[in-house]
Subunit: 387 residues, 2 copies
């Protein structure tokens, strides 16, 4: 099956051309063959195909790569959100209420919810999503969460070290024993990534190191939640261990920025979190100007960021983190791919997976220029078209 | 035709009950008969109907009343937006580039664009929209704009005094002669409202008074754009003339707030404008606590706010203007109705127009809790169901 998408007014390839990080082409066509992109070139030179899609001058971008989400959970925390908007401060402890609801949910309930979120994301242009466990916090439930996540994505992260559960209060080291022992044994077969929330109120730096090193020893690759609620040593630890990404980075020291710039570790910005917790926005300009590779992700979760909209996150990153629109789109596609160490997604070029989004607008700029407006016309994932 | 929407988990009636400005009911049903609401009550007591819609515990709210938009125009200003996000300041003069594109567009081009925006809005839950002229700025084009707007809404506003067009540069008073003379003659038959942009760079207070009084003399009702770019006397003028609404209000003095609180004039907040121009957000808390009636609208226009998403505006109002979620939803429905002096929309009660939105979520809170996510399941306008 060969599909030709032609009369593309503006194509974001992310194959950089000089100063244009988006590698923008105009008046082009893309040929999809099976689940891969086969050809990109001037519309006038387009080859034949079985199906022709007329983009009518509109924009095409790579599917969004959402490299940070927590999609397998029970319940929601709308009342906590409402209270926070009336002045109550965000605290990581709220995670425990989701843990109770998640443990109480059946596999089928969690699966139905998960599939609902994935449909919602696909309709908004997200073609790859990373999913973390972390609302189980006991061996049986964490195993369920990574197993259910693995049914829908290869990008599964074991985050048993999300927060210390109530039953281990004041016994954090014993909980880390469990996470790095029996829980890791149960979860590692389903996961690609090991993650830890390295933050005051969650896990200390020595505890975080134990978690990450245990995961690495089992063949998992590290990524780290750090510097969300205040500065800390999580970034330095992540860089030292060669983490693919540190996520949040709301509070970064100059040393953190220098270390990131000299590393292969991506800084994943989560604009929905600052939006929904009313925290100050990190300054993406400072990071990009220092040479740090930046990704944007939704961090979909019921506590600190319940959006699943990459366009919303892009708009906020442009407005409040001082990114250009091109940088934000790049961070939400190629940046996410880098944060997942994937070289087959996030760009549109021959050989890449055919993950493409046709927008209703003539330009990608509209994703920030028209915040909140559903602008996704058609999505292809692995060459398969969704409404 | 009688439609019963039943098993509504949370119904926002806006028929206030004590401290609950939203008049929230749980486990209820709404009976629609023709284009009106016929009955609201406990689901268990629901009458028979020709069609039953099972809300399955989800939330229903009144359709959004978007009381401020500029939907009839040609072209867009994506490049200007992109430049602004890289540091260029917003200036009202950019309006003139849209004027050139609008004058060049045919009626059918403008009509197609307008209908596209209305479909987009309806899909996002907006069932009533006010539409202003103001991108013609000559007699023939302004007449076209109000005439095209009147094809789709009764809430048509003549805003010939949007900005002084280039051909009248330094002859603002002469332009006001035209607006209050020949242009008003051509436009008044199609319009309900007279509006003026009372701001440095647009129209002075004496010019604004002339425009509003001329409109009132022709049977139009006044509303005013003021205090968007800096403090001014527009609010006082609006209150003195009994305007239904002053819109923007980004810069308000204490005297402005006092005058508004003692008046029937609504203050219409436009969160998309501050978002998209990176201006400081007005403090809705200060207004509400002082007793001012507040509305939220999108101000959809290609310059300062190209969103058409009331849910997006609600989320920003909650996050950045210190409104509670209930206040923001109320402002986007009953507040908008007050800003249009309409008593048949903005609430759900027997006799009101059947403008209803069934959400995908169990609560209206999710509109702010899940920013950017399309949460509208079904919309009824005048009792007619849209996808």
């Amino acid at each position: 099956m060969r599909i030709l998408i032609t009369n593309i007014g503006e194509l974001t390839t992310n194959v950089a051309e000089g100063d244009d990080v988006c590698g923008t082409l105009h008046d082009v066509a893309v040929l999809v063959e099976g689940e891969r992109v086969a050809w990109v070139g001037p519309a006038a030179d387009a080859p034949d195909a079985d199906e022709i899609v007329d983009a009518a001058g509109r924009a095409v971008i790579p599917g969004f790569v959402d490299s940070h989400s927590h999609l397998v959970f029970g319940g929601d925390r709308a009342a906590e959100f409402e209270a926070r908007m009336q002045g109550q401060k965000y605290a990581a402890g709220g995670i425990r209420s989701t843990v109770a609801a998640t443990r109480a949910a059946t596999d089928d309930e969690l699966r139905a919810r998960l599939r609902g979120f994935l449909d919602e994301m696909l309709a908004q242009g997200t073609t790859t999503v990373e999913i973390k466990s972390g609302y189980g916090l006991d061996v049986a439930t964490e195993e369920r969460l990574v197993r259910l996540a693995a049914e829908v994505t290869p990008e599964v992260t074991f985050l048993g070290a999300h927060v210390v559960p109530a039953e281990y209060a004041d016994r954090g080291d014993e909980y880390v024993d469990l996470v790095t022992g029996e829980m890791l044994d149960a979860c590692a077969p389903h996961a690609k990534w090991i993650d830890v929330f390295c933050e005051t109120g969650a896990f200390t730096v020595p505890q975080s190191r134990r978690v990450l090193e245990a995961g690495i020893a089992r063949g998992l690759q590290p990524r780290v939640h750090a510097s969300q609620l205040g500065p800390g040593e999580g970034v330095q630890l992540a860089v030292e261990l060669g983490a693919a990404s540190i996520d949040h980075g709301t509070y970064l020291t100059d040393d953190d920025v220098t270390a990131l710039a000299a590393s292969d570790t991506v800084l994943t910005l989560l604009p929905g979190v600052e939006f929904s917790t009313r925290q100050p926005y990190p300054d993406a300009r400072r990071l990009i100007d220092a040479g740090v590779t930046v990704a944007i992700a939704c961090d979909t979760n019921p506590g600190s960021s319940f959006t699943s909209s990459m366009p919303f996150c892009i708009a906020v990153a442009v407005r409040d983190m001082r990114m250009t629109v091109a940088e934000a789109i790049h961070a939400a596609t190629a940046g996410g791919a880098a944060a997942l160490r994937r070289d087959d997604i996030g760009r549109i070029a021959p050989g890449m997976r055919a993950d493409l989004v046709l927008l209703k607008s003539p330009s990608r700029v509209h994703l920030a220029y028209r915040p909140g407006v559903p602008l996704v016309e058609t999505v292809w994932k692995d060459g398969v078209r969704f409404a």
